[in-house]
Symmetry: C2
Subunit: 470 residues, 2 copies
């Protein structure tokens, strides 16, 4: 096989991890040949703003774009190929095959192939043609890429359905549904009616459901979707559920979570870990020489458990990309300085839906128990600020270890701004701090800003009482 | 001398510290006789909401009251005397003398006599009668007590001056000025034009000044007030400044800070520390047996320096009151459990003025240098959240030690909600964390809530670069 192209570093996949890797590699090795290939045509955009673009809050597509491919190439002196899908690796070592027949010979490889929307079995096997319609046929939307957002936006601008069913209750799908126009009714079909199951416990999920459904436009159905009836032209007619209902609808949004892209990793024989993501060291090295992984396709060391964990968040994409980029070129020609090391990560997540902040940091109770902690939780309701001045309920759950009182994680649901409290939790759990540390911490107090007894400290105090009561 | 009244515990002073002490003492000793005396008539109210009441944002006085004296007495089973000023202590040990001639014999004493507004020399010596007009004569307002707030409110409701001069730039006075009606022009006369000098560094003070004066209603004059011209009836005519100006005005608000009340402590021979506040142990004991102190009259151990420091904030009032109350009755009759210990405190402060949050935590640069640290600061401007979605500038200063990279403190100025970031700083500095810990912490990211690169982490990264550049 003839290699059309030779490069020192090949990065497969753009967006946060791939572009951060390319930029870091360029900074560390001004002379290295770097090639960034992406199967799509939008190299660098703000993934987390896609729901606002799909729903129309963000008007111009350009506002989402960090760089056009050309601008990125020029700014960082990196070759960029878009529409370039890697389909495999040649028999000869360190060669990548592209779908269009081109081959690339590389010295170092960074996989930043990301994750994709999960599509339920009954849709994946449906008779339709994936492609321009998205991964699940006409009228069934996911929201993972800029193309996905364009599809939703176009459909709802030109032919808004009167009723949309959201299948599952992951955050991106919920954000898209919440952002739709007020003429569209929404039914969320989620097992046990549980919203944001990967981030919120049952009690706080219930609080979110109450707020989301308060206006009457959005309903939550406690059921599992089992099938989709389509019209002859492929358009959705009704979602079938495990309680025997058929919920008529003009469109479906899948909020059934994401899964790491593993085809390329499998072709390379890489070791996979949590949720099928690529296992890496704190240097972002895989188990194969000359190959690094970064972003949503990689499982990274988690700070509390010390174990590899798949935490597909933008900040981790950025940080892992930066480490992988630096280290890949450093291994090629060690220059000044040291290789980079990824700090073990703490999951820290926030979303705002219908004017309500919900956020979590660290381990949820189930995760803590799974990890072997003698974990407990307390749930409290505090105030965002002085109730005399319009303060609202802030719900907080704190998770802690019974034996040492170690703080393991927290969740919150409250008015805008509440989510920032989880930053304190993320910083403290990383340092192995205790419930006592949280309670003893000083917090700012001002009637317009935060109450004398900050909800986090109220929760910590409640946890202390629970510990003492044993 | 005959003791009219005998009590196990006498608490001098109400509001946060005194009432917290009484409540904690009652919980710890159900049978103890507890007497709470206060020279005013409003025992328990929200001091920090006084500016909103003075300015009319809070309409009803009742909204500020935590308890009426009667309700407090009944709820906690505590004797409460209002209008009862302690003027000295009898020759016979453990006796207090009241202004009205009554005497109280006590077994344990807690001083919670608080702090008062500083009145500049040229006003304190002016020929007027303090009393119902406040501590500085007619038309000159301070804002420290509910009575002070009533005076401001009444004056501005019945006879609003067209122009008010604020002397000094402490936060309570600025809050009162910012809360005044839009028909009143305000001139703030502050040395070097520096606002909130005890909380904000010069660069961030300048940002606040720009925001406060943007509407044109408020001016900042870089000058020191040196005198006040009054009309024959005592009303203010003009404030004189050290640059020779006379600024005509109908009223004056003093924002020249506060000072601990020390008369009673001096009468008892208590050892005083920082700023003249009573020195106490972490048990809130003074240097005299059977006497504790709590709240704004006490200097408490500061977490970063380990030294006694006067940090007159509501949370410290509450916490020190709670510790003093429990320990005072515990020493009387040790029951189950242990005496309480005050955690060393971190200064953590926030205020919102004209829709801008300003907050700080830990040590300011000058304080850190004074304490012997090889301290440095970096100033950065980050974003509150996605600029595409209306994110605004968040100014952050981080103070750190050059030798170990230890985090010592931070300040911020930004849109509403920004202040909560200082809670993370307060928690981290208490644990002796470093700039690296701050940078490596995970933070929540959502376009509506907080940027991918949280301003605190941006500042920490900038500090790391500054450290490496040496």
């Amino acid at each position: 096989m003839r290699a059309d192209h030779q490069t020192d570093l090949l990065i497969v996949g753009g967006t946060a991890a791939g572009t951060a890797a390319a930029a870091a590699a360029r900074r560390a090795a001004p002379g290295a040949r770097i090639l960034l290939v992406d199967k799509g045509y939008d190299l660098a955009y703000s993934t987390c703003e896609l729901p606002m673009f799909a729903g129309g809050q963000i008007d111009r597509e350009e506002a989402l774009l960090r760089y056009t491919p050309d601008a990125f190439s020029e700014t960082f002196g990196v070759d960029v190929w878009t529409g370039a899908e890697v389909t495999g690796f040649g028999a000869r070592e360190r060669t990548a095959l592209l779908a269009d027949g081109r081959t690339v010979r590389w010295q170092r490889l960074i996989l930043a192939v990301g994750a994709r929307a999960r599509v339920p079995e009954y849709l994946a096997s449906a008779p339709h043609t994936p492609g321009p319609q998205g991964p699940a046929g006409p009228g069934v939307f996911v929201l993972r890429t800029l193309d996905d957002a364009r599809r939703i936006r176009e459909r709802f601008a030109t032919d808004p359905p009167a009723h949309v069913v959201v299948v599952g209750a992951g955050y991106t799908g919920l954000e898209a549904a919440a952002a739709l126009g007020h003429d569209t009714r929404v039914s969320i079909v989620a097992p046990a009616g549980r919203l944001l199951p990967s981030g919120l416990s049952e009690p706080l999920s219930r609080v979110v459901a109450e707020r989301l459904t308060a206006g009457g436009r959005i309903l939550v159905r406690a059921a599992r979707a089992t099938g989709l009836d389509r019209a002859p032209d492929g358009r959705p007619l009704a979602v079938r559920t495990d309680d025997g209902e058929k919920i008529g609808c003009g469109a479906v949004i899948l909020a059934t979570g994401i899964a790491p892209n593993t085809e390329v990793a499998a072709a390379l024989g890489l070791r996979l870990g949590d949720e099928g993501a690529v296992r890496v060291t704190t240097a972002m090295r895989t188990n194969k020489p000359h190959i690094w992984a970064a972003g949503d396709c990689a499982a990274i060391p988690e700070a509390i458990t010390g174990r590899p964990r798949w935490i597909p968040l933008a900040m981790n994409a950025f940080r892992t990309g930066r480490v992988a980029g630096r280290n890949a070129v450093f291994s090629l020609a060690p220059s000044g300085g040291r290789p980079a090391t990824l700090e073990p990560a703490v999951a820290a997540f926030a979303v705002r839906l219908a004017g309500v902040d919900m956020a979590h940091a660290g381990l949820r109770l189930e995760e803590a128990l799974d990890a072997g902690f003698t974990a407990e939780a307390v749930d409290i309701v505090g105030a965002s600020h002085s109730r005399t001045l319009g303060g609202e309920d802030v719900h907080v759950r704190v998770v802690f270890d019974r034996r040492q009182g170690r703080l393991l994680g927290a969740e919150t649901v409250g008015p805008p701004g509440s989510a920032l409290r989880m930053n304190t939790v993320a910083a403290l759990v990383r340092l192995g701090a205790s419930i006592h540390d949280l309670e003893a911490s000083d917090t700012v107090y001002h009637p317009d800003i935060s109450p004398l007894h900050d909800p986090l400290r109220v929760a910590a105090r409640s946890a202390q009482k629970q510990l003492r009561a044993r």
